[in-house]
Amino acid sequence: MSIEMSRMKFYCDDDRCIDCDGCTVACAEAHELPVGVSRRKVVTLNEGVEGKEFSTSVACMHCTDAPCEQVCPVDCFYIREDGIVLHDKDICIGCGYCLYACPFGAPQFPRDGAFGSKGAMDKCTMCAGGPLETNSIEERELYGLNLISEGKVPVCAAMCSTKALIVGDAQDVANIYRTRIAARGKGVQGAPYGWSTAYGK
């Protein structure tokens, strides 16, 4: 697996996710986010309904053909070769279009503009920082940690209690996913929840 071929993906195994919010808090702590901004959120559906309840962790999926990038009026997004979708907060005007375009609700808007209007958009960077100089103080303050540049795993997946949340090269992630499905011997599931929306067929 060479660097050129790698394409980073997120995968949250809803058979393992127990809604512990470790990922949410790890992300918030690592990037020192303001309290209202949750780059990653865990959502539980059908709570209390036997056999139907499930939990999943949602953040930016770094989609192929990212819709956020398509709709941005100021074109502040840029997509890395490995598929990680990032944006420039200095160009962003906080209009909210990316949020409307996003199937996963990833873009967050802190209310720190004039008269409490939305400030520049913030979202999961897959711990890959931003357009500023890698590992500089400015990058850290505006975008958070840049772990990808150090070859480390994003904190959310690193922290996941049950290793429901996995991130990495698409091939590796798909292999893990397939192994688990085979071990469970259950059903024929085409792809993890939300993958077709994010990464296309």
């Binding site: 160009i91 209009c95 909210g96 929306t197």
Partner: protein, 307 residues
């Protein structure tokens, strides 16, 4: 259309419950974890599968059509009127006869306030639409802030305007005739044109500016506040994010109409009739102009003996 009407109605009624600030009884939705933010709740995951409803539509329209249409309108409408000015030219009327007071001081003040609002709102809106070409960043950001601030100015002026010109602007049967004549603007000749105090063209602009303007206010406010909960979304059977997407689409589409008719109004009131700008400053229109351009209104005034 139904969605838009419902939107208007429920906002007005929804304000009451807004003050109470209670969380709505959505079917699967328990009190959302993240401090009541409707965008972060079990709706979020349901929205992923529901993306086809408005998410796909919004992305497609915004990515491929909106900018092109805005550009088309800007250029197209401008060229149409440029050609008109060059080919047909302006109409002028004698100002030696009597003058009739048609706009009171209050109406003029309100009109100019609204005009000020439009003059800031529309260009700033266009700056945002073409933000990419303008480099984004601080410049476009300030445009966005101004766009929002001057909405307040707009609100203050547009509601009185709706009220005091409501009756005069109601459509009449002779408006159809006016439309077929294109208001007489296609010929250099000055002939009597069937119109009341306001002609069909003015009426169209009025309704787009007031009712359409209110739709703009509400959809714009929805996008501005983003995370609010007045029971609107649930009463329309939409999730919050779909409400925002619908608001964005409606806002843009109405903007087409507002932009087109605004340029038209500018041309009509600044260039097409000589001295019409004066009318909105002094409040008076010449008898001559009224006789030809607002013939029905003129006949009525004559009958009442005001002339």
């Amino acid at each position: 259309m139904k969605h838009i009407l419902l939107l208007c109605l429920t906002v007005l009624s929804g304000f009451a419950s807004a003050v109470a600030g209670k969380v709505p009884l959505a079917s699967h939705d328990i009190v959302p974890k993240n401090g009541g933010d409707l965008l972060v709740s079990s709706q979020m995951v349901e929205n992923i599968l529901d993306y086809q409803k408005y998410g796909d539509l919004f992305t497609y329209l915004q990515a491929h059509y909106f900018r092109a249409i805005f550009l088309g309108i800007l250029i197209g409408v401008f060229i149409v009127f440029l050609l008109h000015y060059l080919i047909v030219g302006a109409k002028s009327f004698s100002h030696s006869g009597k003058k009739v007071l048609v706009y009171s001081i209050f109406k003029r003040v309100i009109h100019w306030t609204a005009a000020l609002a439009f003059v800031v709102i529309i260009p700033t809106g266009l700056i945002m639409v073409f933000g990419k070409e303008l480099g984004g960043g601080t410049f476009v950001l300030y445009a966005r802030e101004l766009h929002a601030i001057f909405t307040v100015v707009f609100i203050v002026s547009i509601f009185p305007m709706l009220l005091f010109w409501f009756v005069d602007m109601l459509p009449t049967w002779y408006d159809i005739k006016w439309v077929f004549m294109a208001g007489g603007y296609l010929s250099k000749k000055v002939t009597e044109v069937p119109a009341g105090k306001f002609n069909a063209g003015q009426k169209m602009w009025f309704w787009v500016a007031t009712l359409g303007g209110m739709v703009m206010i509400m959809t714009g406010a929805a996008m501005y506040f983003q995370s609010f909960d007045f029971g609107i979304a649930s009463s329309l059977g939409l999730t919050q994010i779909d409400l925002l997407r619908a608001a964005a689409i409606v806002h843009n589409i109405f903007a087409f109409a507002v932009l087109a008719l605004f340029i038209t109004h500018l041309y009509m009131s600044l260039f097409a009739i000589k001295g019409s700008l004066d009318s909105m400053v002094s409040g008076y229109k010449s008898e001559d102009e009224l006789k030809y351009m607002h013939s029905v209104f003129y006949k009525k005034l004559k009958k009442e003996g005001k002339i």
